[in-house]
Structures are given as structure tokens and as C-alpha cells.
Assembly symmetry: C2
Homo-oligomer: 156 residues x 2
DNA sequence: TAATTTTTGTTAGTATACTAAATATTTTAA
DNA sequence: TTAAAATATTTAGTATACTAACAAAAATTA
């Protein structure tokens, strides 16, 4: 057994478990829908915009440009997107989803475990909201450095 | 901007942000301490046990055997651990931390962002506990499938 | 005892995800 | 108008993380 000395360590441990569950689910999606969670998130945005470029997608899904490029490579290999060099601005590569990709979302692959979604939806709305805001708050706390150096003056 | 139609999507998005923050922090640790978060988690356990085997570590840190093997490979390359084949049970490889590895933890590399740790510690204890239990609950909800199929009968 | 199963660890193959550097193009400034 | 800065995307290199398949050894069962 793990003895937990520190609540912060426990937070990390709890997060790690969640991260792993999401990853495992993503790998199951490949078998059933031929698409992973990161690929689905990117594809969803492409379908939303009809036509877009990779830098927009990187901002939307909160990933680096390099990561988005590799995800787009795989989507292209699977014929889920088409990349066309832009004529207006030759630096840009326009991205569009194929018919095939749109059809995948007709079946709506669940981006989180069905068990989680079912359980979550059965919670009271206030509880769902509380959970979400807790997660958002943790996210803010972890990205705090970028927000403001002035706050740091107060702590130490 | 992302229009969010579904609170479940928002939960995934919030989690993705947290996951990314942890990953980015891990990459910063390499520069400062020469060790990543997953490596540190594994090494911490090795130091705790003094001597152990990879299957124990995989259970402790909640990772697959293959992943632990690759992390151990890197720890070995950095001379943070020594692997010795066991004489009792020739399947087992005994793992021990080196002096060098123990010294790293004298400096105590922070496994989460210092900003997060500082902010988290400033919360009231009840709030820390609430956050932790929310995360643990999400973890349970996501790993529910393995727990019980009987519960599923009730939902659909 | 012999055959089977389980345990333990590694390897192969794939997908994510990052930074830094390279390339090409466009915009801005001198 | 040319040089410098900014923008857009990709490539290279590294680390995580998984499953499946493999090999070796140990434990169990017939």
C-alpha cells in the first residue's frame, strides 16, 4: 500500500488516476470508432469551422502546434481531413473534414467513459456544476504563473 | 471561442487543461532537476522500499508494466537506479536507488507547480479535502466499469 | 512427474505531447 | 525598398503510455 503523507501528493495521485482512465478510454475508442479522443476533439472543431487552419485548432484544443500537426497527420492518413494550401496566404494550410469524418459523429463516439457520463448525468445539477468548477479552479491554479506575477508578491 | 454545448464536454476540457499543466510542469522539472514527474513518482517508491521489483511499482503508481519498464530504462540510463537479477526467483529483477537518486530528493523537486501548491495550501482544510474528494470521486466514476456490472442494470 | 497456468519482465508498434529549430511567407519598419 | 520581425507549419528528438506478443521461470494441477 501507498502511505500518503501529503494531501498534495494525494491530489496528484487522484489526477493521475483520472488521466489514466481517459487515456484507456481513448484507446478503446480506436477499436470501436477508429478515432482517439484527441483526434475526435480536433475533428469536432474542424467540422464546426467547416474550414480552418492548424493554429486556430491548437488554440481551441489547448495543444501545441507540433502536437496538432501530428494529430492532423493521422486524421489525414485515415482520410478524415483534406489539407489544401491556401492561395491568399501561402503560409497557411486549409483544413476540411471529409464526408466520412462527418459520418463518424453521426454515431457520436463518447469522449468520456459511458459509465462516467451516465453517473455524472444522474447527479443533481448543482453537484455537476460544483464538480466542473472545482476542476476549472484547479486548472486556473495550475496555470497561475502565466496570469499574474503580482499575486506572487503576496506569498513569500 | 469554443461554444460549449454540454457540461460533460466542459468537464473533459477542464481535465485536459489540468493534464496539460501537469505535463508542462514535468518538462520543466527535467531542466531543473534532471527528472520528470513520472520518473520522480517511480523513484520515490523505489527509495521508500529500498529494494523492490517492477510489478510492485506498476501497482503503486498505477501504470502498465510496459510503461514502468521504459521509465526504469531511463532511470537506469541516468544512473538513478541499479537493476540486479534476483537469485531467489530468477524472473524478478531487483531495483535499488543510487546515492545520486536519493540526493535529488534532498532538494525535493515539487511534483506539481509551486504556484498550485502554494495556492492549494492557502485554502481552508475543508476546501482542500473537498477538492481531493471531488477528484477521487471522478476517478471512481471513470473506473466504474471494473467495479460492478450489476449497477449497470439499473441504468437503461 | 509432466503438463498447464500464472507471474514477471521486456520488446514491438502506435499515439500522444512537448520544445527547439528549420522553412517559408507576410508584414512592418527603417 | 530592403532588412527585420512576426506568423504558420512542419521536422527532429525525447518522454510518456498503452496493448499484444514473447520469453523465461515458478507455481499449480492433473
Amino acid at each position: 500500500m501507498l502511505e500518503k503523507t501529503d494531501i498534495v501528493d494525494e491530489v496528484l495521485f487522484a489526477l493521475k488516476r483520472i488521466i489514466r482512465a481517459i487515456d484507456l478510454h481513448s484507446k478503446k475508442l480506436v477499436a470501436e470508432y477508429g478515432i482517439t479522443v484527441p483526434q475526435a476533439l480536433v475533428l469536432k472543431r474542424i467540422i464546426h469551422y467547416k474550414q480552418t487552419v492548424s493554429s486556430i485548432l491548437a488554440k481551441d484544443v489547448n495543444l501545441s502546434h507540433a502536437t496538432v500537426t501530428s494529430i492532423l497527420d493521422r486524421l489525414e492518413n485515415h482520410h478524415y481531413i483534406i489539407r489544401t494550401p491556401s492561395l491568399d496566404d501561402k503560409r497557411k494550410i486549409l483544413i476540411e473534414a471529409t464526408e466520412q469524418a462527418v459520418n463518424i459523429f453521426k454515431n457520436a463516439p463518447p469522449l468520456l467513459q459511458e459509465e462516467f457520463i451516465t453517473a455524472f448525468r444522474q447527479l443533481e445539477l448543482w453537484e455537476q456544476t460544483l464538480m466542473l468548477s472545482t476542476l476549472q479552479r484547479i486548472g486556473v491554479m495550475m496555470n497561475a504563473k502565466n496570469l499574474s506575477a503580482s499575486l506572487l508578491l503576496a506569498c513569500e
